[in-house]
Each structure stands twice: as C-alpha cells, then as structure tokens.
C-alpha cells in the first residue's frame, strides 16, 4: 500500500474523528458532571441520526433545518432522561451499578422503540453536497468536509462555553465536587439537568452528522455508546478537552491502523488502544490523576 492510500486513510480518520470527538465531548458533558455511566446516550446519538435522515430522505427538509431539529430532539430526550430516569434514581440513592443497569435497559428499549417505528433497515439520506473535492491524493465529498468542520466547531464551542461565565463555573464546580458546589450556592440539580440536556443535544447532533455521511441504523445505539465511552476513557475522565482529543485519536487509530492490517482488525485496534491506556496510563491523555483505574 502506497503513501497516497495512507493519506486518504488519515483524511478519513480526521473527518470521522470530528464526529467521534463531538460524541465523546457530549458524553463527557454528562458523565463528568453527573458521574452517571450514561450508556443510554447511544439513544440520543441514534435519535439524532434518524431525525436528520428521515427528515432529509422522506420529507425533503433541507439539511440546514434537519440538523437543528436533531439537536432539539436530543435536548428533549435529555429532559426525559433526567426527569423520568436519573432524578428519581438519584432521589432514592441508587448505587452506580443500579443506575448503570437502568441506563442499559433504556438503551435497549430506546433502540427497540426506534426500530418499531422506523423498521430494522437503515435509512440513507441523499444530500445535494455529494460532489467530490480532489485535493492532491485525497478525495473527499463536500459533505464530509462540511460535517468535519461543523463537528470540530461544535466541539470548540462547547469547550469555550465550559471555560467561561457563570455557566462554565457552575458546571466545572459540579464536576470537581458536587457536594462542595452545593454548599457554595450552586444549584447542583440544575447543573445536572443542564448537563443532561446539553449533552444529549450534542450527542444527537453528532448522530445527525454520522447519519448524513453514513446512514441511520439500529446499530447506532450501541455503537454510539461504546465510541463515546472509549473516547472519554482514552481522553481522560473529568476532562472535556481530553474527550475531544480521545474521540479524534480513536477515529484516527481505527482508520490509519488498517493501512497495513486487514480491516477485520478495526475493532481490535479500537479496544487495543483502550487497553493500552487502561494499563499504561489509566487516567487517559488529560484526565485527573488516579490511584487506580476507576470510574
């Protein structure tokens, strides 16, 4: 395999990395703040994909409107997650394991509901942006470039918001120590609510971008949850920037890694990267220092 192929594989990794990066950040927004292993996040990712693909493919809504619609649908789902699932569980003092199992149940149920309404076949959206741009050895569609730009821009916007103003201070304080944050007058339950809604919205946006460039399929639920979790674990628990980098690194490793290996190894590469981090650097790229690997 020649260097041109390597360049194209890297380009694939970079644009897909935008989606993974956004997905990783969206999950980190929820996880860092609430410390809930929110595996049901996959439903938000899938919902975003389905909303955009169905709108574009079946009703002719332009992409510019379908993407915000997916974001809003994700936010609404986040409201439901928080008010109907996590808040009642928290009020009863559920252990993390109970919450995780409940979340896993919601992932399975949520995907089953989507399949019941839309059917088991994946939905492909055709957009007007599929013309190919040739950049030296690289061939990318306008859509892929646009998706990458939008994804990385959304990641950047989230990171900036996290660093600035009342909002950022409250969220970061809750992330660091929710009890102390409550004592100094930050409304922790409101911070949890905002994290869940915003995180779900961003997750749905990532799903919408994935749906546009790939397709919306029932596999998105589990895939999305796993990508998000692996991105955060690589990037480092507690760090939003880490999750952003983690997602991009994961996509790059999975795409460039098969330059010399057969593509059957793609999954093994993803989990191999995770395993190396867990053993060699359990706190991830930018995570908090940990005595041992823990959640």
């Amino acid at each position: 395999m020649d260097l041109n192929t390597l360049a194209q594989l890297a380009a694939n990794g970079i644009w897909i990395g935008g989606i993974y990066s956004l997905l990783g950040v969206s999950w980190a927004v929820v996880f860092n703040t609430t410390r809930t292993f929110h595996i049901a996040h996959g439903v938000a990712y899938a919902l975003g994909g389905y909303v955009t693909c169905l709108l574009v493919a079946r009703t002719g809504v332009p992409v510019e409107l379908a993407l915000p619609a997916s974001f809003l649908a994700g936010c609404l789902l986040g409201v439901a997650f928080e008010l109907l699932l996590y808040r009642p569980l928290r009020a009863r003092g559920s252990t993390p394991m109970v919450t995780f199992v409940a979340s896993l149940g919601i992932l399975t149920t949520g995907m089953a509901v989507i399949v019941a309404f839309v059917g088991p076949n994946s939905v492909l959206a055709t957009t007007p942006f599929e013309s190919v741009v040739v950049l030296g050895p690289l061939r990318l569609t306008v859509l892929q470039i646009g998706v990458a730009v939008l994804a990385y821009a959304s990641v950047a916007a989230t990171l900036v918001a996290w660093r600035s103003g009342w909002f950022g201070r409250a969220m970061r304080a809750t992330t660091t120590n929710s009890e102390l944050a409550g004592l100094v007058g930050i409304r922790v339950s409101r911070a949890y609510f905002v994290a869940m809604v915003l995180g779900s919205g961003l997750g749905a946006l990532a799903g919408a971008l994935a749906g546009l460039t790939q397709s919306a399929s029932p596999e998105m639920g589990f895939n999305g949850a796993l990508i998000a979790a692996v991105a955060v674990l690589i990037g480092g628990i507690g760090s939003l920037v880490g999750a952003a980098i983690g997602g991009a690194v994961l996509a790059l490793a999975m795409n460039v890694g098969i330059w010399q290996l057969s593509s059957e190894w793609q999954l093994a590469i993803a989990f191999g990267v995770l395993m190396i981090f867990m053993v060699v650097r359990p706190r991830g790229i930018l995570g908090e220092r940990l005595a041992k690997a823990e959640l």
Binding site: E130, R139, S215, E219, N223, I258, E264, L267
Partner: protein, 374 residues
C-alpha cells in the same frame, strides 16, 4: 467501523441433553407395497421464522397428499416445531431420532441447520433443507443435503459472468461472516483459475455502517471490478457511493438483495451497471401445475421454500421406496438425477444442489435488466 460486534455475538447454546437415543437411522431396505414412508419435518412454526416454516410444511403436505394418491407406500409426516431456535431444533431432532424416520425435510433457518446437521449425520438420517443458506450446513461425509442455492454459489455465477466478460482484476468487500468468507474463497478461486488476480479483500462486520477505509484500500488496488457482498441493500448502496467517491470507475458485482426500489433510489447513478445473479422462476410445466395445486389447497402463491420443500419431499419418498432410508438413501441421493418442479436436481459431494436456473441481472438507468449470458 462498527464498534459493536461484541454485543452482537449471539451465543447459540445448543441444548445438549441425554444421548439415550439408539442411533438407528431408519431401515436400510426398500419399501415393498403398503409399508409407510416415515418422513420427519423440522420447521420453524413459531418464532421469528414462522412464516417461512409454514410454507415449508405446506409444500411437504401437498407433496405427501399427491404422492399418497398415486402410490401404495404412503408418506407419513411427523412435523416438529423448532421455534426458530437452535435449542428447539435440537429437541425436535431428539424426538425424531427416537421415532426413527427414514429421512427428514428441513430445517427452515440457517442457525438451526448449522446446529442440527451434526445430529443428522450422527444418527445417520438423511436430511434435506429447502432454505438453509450457511455453507457449513452440508459437508463431505455428512447426511445433510440442500436443494436451495446458497448466496456464495450465486456469487460464483456472477463472478464467472464477469470473468468471461474479460475482467482480470477484482477487489472484494465481503461480509465478515461464514457466507462472506465462503464467497470470498469461491470468487478468488474463479478469478485466479482464469488468470486474473484479486487486488484486495476486506471484510466488513455485518453491522458495519460505513466502509470508507476498507474501500480506500480496495480502490487503491485499482481493480476492474469490485465485489460488494454485504447483506443489507442500504449498506450495499452506501458502499457503492463511497467507492465512487474514492475514485472507483469499474463495475460492481453484488448479490440479489439489491433488487429493491429503495436500493435504486438510494444508490443513484453510483450503482449503474452493477450485476448480480438471481434464481429465476422455474420453467418446467410441472411447476405451473404445482402452483395451481398449491393455490387451490392453501389459497396463496407458493414461496420458493414451498416449492423446494415439495421437491425435497417427493425426492426423498422416491429414494426411500427404491432403497430405504439411512445410509442407502444417502448413497442414492448422491447419485440421483431428479426432475423436480423447480428444475433438475442433483447433488455435489457435499450435498449441495449443483444447478439451478440462474439469470445475471444488471442495474441500468435505474432499472433491473437481464445482463445476458448464462
């Protein structure tokens, strides 16, 4: 780039039970006037595959009825429901092996076929499936047969068509499962036998949602034709679009699953001149008679499984009257040249049907047309 895989690994735990059955695979002597022909039927009558199991049983029932009207040795069917599960298939087989049938028609579904094929061989009961598609259902030395063409066999026909048309280099994007691997081997054999070469082979998880990087590697090998052997038509459409985007200009070879309207809509011009093989409607006059009789009895058009099941029942009954069941029937089936309603039936060394009427089809201007040849 599915990250899932692990969650999709459905462990099929075939219920292993007591091995009390005597292992006598039916008598080895021909029937002589008035002796019943014991045929077991393993079918999915409940669960996910129930619609297919129902037509399988109906095909067998129609065959038994017509046979019994003409012959002194009557067919007796013992129908067992496998509940669309490997576990249910194993219990059905255990029950049948106690009854000691001369032969078995079934099962309906692939996972069950793979689970119970070893039992048929061990108990020495010839078993013929009208629909199981996994290549490993049949094997040399086994007691299993199949009068249905597998997707890898159809892939062979498409590849032969392409090679005869002068294509020398082929890249392959295949389903990372038993059928995809079998198809890849067959394709490689055919291409290399004809002096061509495989420029690359990549395997995609059955749940994969995008193929960018696999296709990047495949397109870099500059093949004249690209095999896209993935199951879901939407995934095939996506792979074809991505391959075109990456600069592939040659011909796509694919499977009959693409013959849907959704496929042509989603693939657009990227799928132009894609070719695949389909089993055609049987031409034998006896097929028309079968369809008429089936409609009269069940009030519905027969599916291919019904026709295959009808043929399997008739063929097994004929063999049993001539040589009996068990290993004698197995020998007889391997040598048989039978004219069924679906066309001529004979089996290769492993027990797969050797020929079926096939047509090579092509996508041209958004329409499915015959590509000519074969």
């Amino acid at each position: 780039m599915t990250i899932l895989g692990l969650a999709a690994t459905a462990a099929l735990i075939a219920g292993c039970g007591s091995s009390s059955s005597a292992g006598s695979g039916g008598g080895g002597s021909p029937k002589s006037g008035g002796e019943p022909i014991h045929l077991g039927v393993v079918a999915s009558l409940s669960g996910a595959a129930a619609p297919f199991g129902k037509t399988q049983v109906q095909g067998a029932e129609l065959a038994a009825e017509e046979w019994n009207a003409k012959h002194p040795d009557k067919i007796e069917l013992s129908v067992q429901d496998d509940q669309s599960e490997a576990k249910g298939g194993v219990s059905a087989m255990r029950k049948l092996s106690e009854e000691g049938p001369d032969a078995i028609v079934g099962p309906t579904s692939t996972t069950i076929g793979v689970a119970i094929a070893p039992i048929a061989t061990q108990e020495q009961i010839p078993m013929m499936s009208p629909s199981v598609s996994a290549p490993e259902f049949v094997s040399e030395g086994g007691y299993t047969f199949r009068n249905h063409l597998t997707t890898p066999q159809q892939a062979a026909a498409t590849t032969e068509w392409a090679v005869e048309g002068g294509i020398k280099s082929v890249g392959m994007l295949m389903n990372n499962a038993a059928d995809g691997k079998a198809a890849a081997e067959t394709v490689e054999e055919i291409v290399e036998e004809n002096g061509g070469q495989i420029t690359g082979a990549e395997f995609a998880e059955p749940t994969a949602v995008e193929f960018q990087s696999q296709l990047t590697k495949l397109v870099a090998g500059k093949p004249e034709a690209l095999w896209v052997f993935i199951i879901a038509p939407e995934a095939i459409a996506l792979a074809m679009k991505e391959a075109r985007q990456l600069g592939f200009t040659g011909r796509f070879l694919t499977i009959a699953n693409v013959e849907t309207e959704e496929f042509t809509e989603t693939v657009g011009s990227a799928g132009e001149e894609a070719v695949w093989a389909v089993e055609t409607e049987p031409e034998a006059p006896s097929y028309a008679a079968f369809v008429a009789a089936y409609k009269k009895k069940f009030g519905a058009e027969p599916e291919f499984i019904a026709a295959n099941s009808y043929d399997a029942t008739m063929l097994l009954a004929e063999g049993i009257t001539k040589v009996g069941g068990g290993s004698a029937l197995r020998e007889w089936l391997h040598k048989a040249h039978y004219e069924g309603v679906t066309g001529p039936i004979s089996f290769d060394a492993e027990g797969d049907v050797t020929e079926r009427p096939l047509a090579i089809r092509e996508l041209r201007g958004g329409k499915f047309v015959d590509a000519g040849g074969k």
